[in-house]
Amino acid sequence: MPTREPDSAPDDEWVLVRRAQHEDTRAFDELVRRYQERIYATIYHMTSNHEDANDLAQDAFIKAYRALKSFKGNSSFYTWLYRIAVNKTINFLKQRKSRVLLSLNDMDSSAERDPDMVALVSHNTPRRDLGLAELQEKLNAAMQKLSEQHRMVVVLHDIQGLTHEEIGAIMDCNVGTVRSRLFYARQELQAYLADYIR
């Protein structure tokens, strides 16, 4: 299962948010450092393009800073921040529909020791010679075939490790919708990656 960073102390976070709301840029810098990896990764896995993810992550944080005064604390800061990033990414993907240019990050070498990776390459699959680069390309190509909503649920649940409830809050839909999207998205992925599953 994907690992998930432990939630930071909410009190400490709320203090930082309040300071950032009063234009304390050092407090906002601390919030950026705290969430940048998760926000970047979400956008990257949605776009499969490092440059786009870099631009969109910056834009999302800047938009969050500008909109911070309107944040009332009805949800956690991180849910609110995720929502900004998700909306920005989905809008971007709707505009770029005609061009899908993959610009993939390197896979960490520790992937080769991951038990799932070991199982995948050692199992009697038709693709025993599967390499990391090929797997990465196939995974990303399969992900790009999903609709934005389905892809987002897969990214947030299967890669980021968020719960259905958290995803529902971020995507502004109920848990049933999240489960349903996840089910159909996995079915589609299973079809695209059939060679690697059997």
Binding site: T3, F28, Q58, M107, A111, L120, N124, P126, L139, N140
Partner: protein, 149 residues
């Protein structure tokens, strides 16, 4: 069951391997600096273009409509004749008495010299003979290419 037909891994566990994709080393040291630099430069302030650009990009028809409307308004502003305010224009005209007085041969100054009538004649000689202005209202003055006798 044949070993080759057994599922190797559920699809969600294969997809989860994507978490090993990492940006270049040091990227997460640079990203906050770039963000804070852009914030300090005032980037992301909401302006007209920033607000409308996403809508224009998503809906080209809207962009074309706005562009056509803008061009139309610009053309009207450039090519339509300047509208004269009727009241102001009437106020600027000399009264009937002024017309008559200015046109009299015994007058001290001609309409041209008095400053409210233009002339194509570089020699601003007082007009002689019957006045054209004795008729009931202001009218167009015929322009002659010949010198008056």
């Amino acid at each position: 069951m044949d070993q080759e037909l057994k599922p190797a891994l559920p699809v969600e566990r294969i997809i989860a391997l994507k978490r090993y994709e990492k940006p270049p080393p040091g990227y997460f040291d640079l990203l906050p600096r770039r963000i804070m630099h852009r914030i300090e430069q005032g980037d992301g302030q909401s302006g007209f273009w920033a607000r409308w650009r996403p809508s224009f990009s998503a809906r080209p028809v809207l962009a074309i409509s706005v562009a056509l409307a803008f061009c139309g308004a610009l053309s009207v502003a450039i090519y339509s004749p300047p509208k004269m305010d009727r009241a102001v224009a009437t106020d600027d005209l000399p009264s009937q008495a002024q017309w008559a007085a200015a046109s009299l041969p015994s007058g001290d100054t001609s309409p041209v010299e008095s400053g409210w009538l233009g002339s194509t004649n570089p020699v601003t000689a007082p007009q002689t003979g019957d006045s054209l202005f004795l008729s009931s209202g202001p009218r167009a003055i015929p322009v002659s290419l010949f010198q008056p006798n």
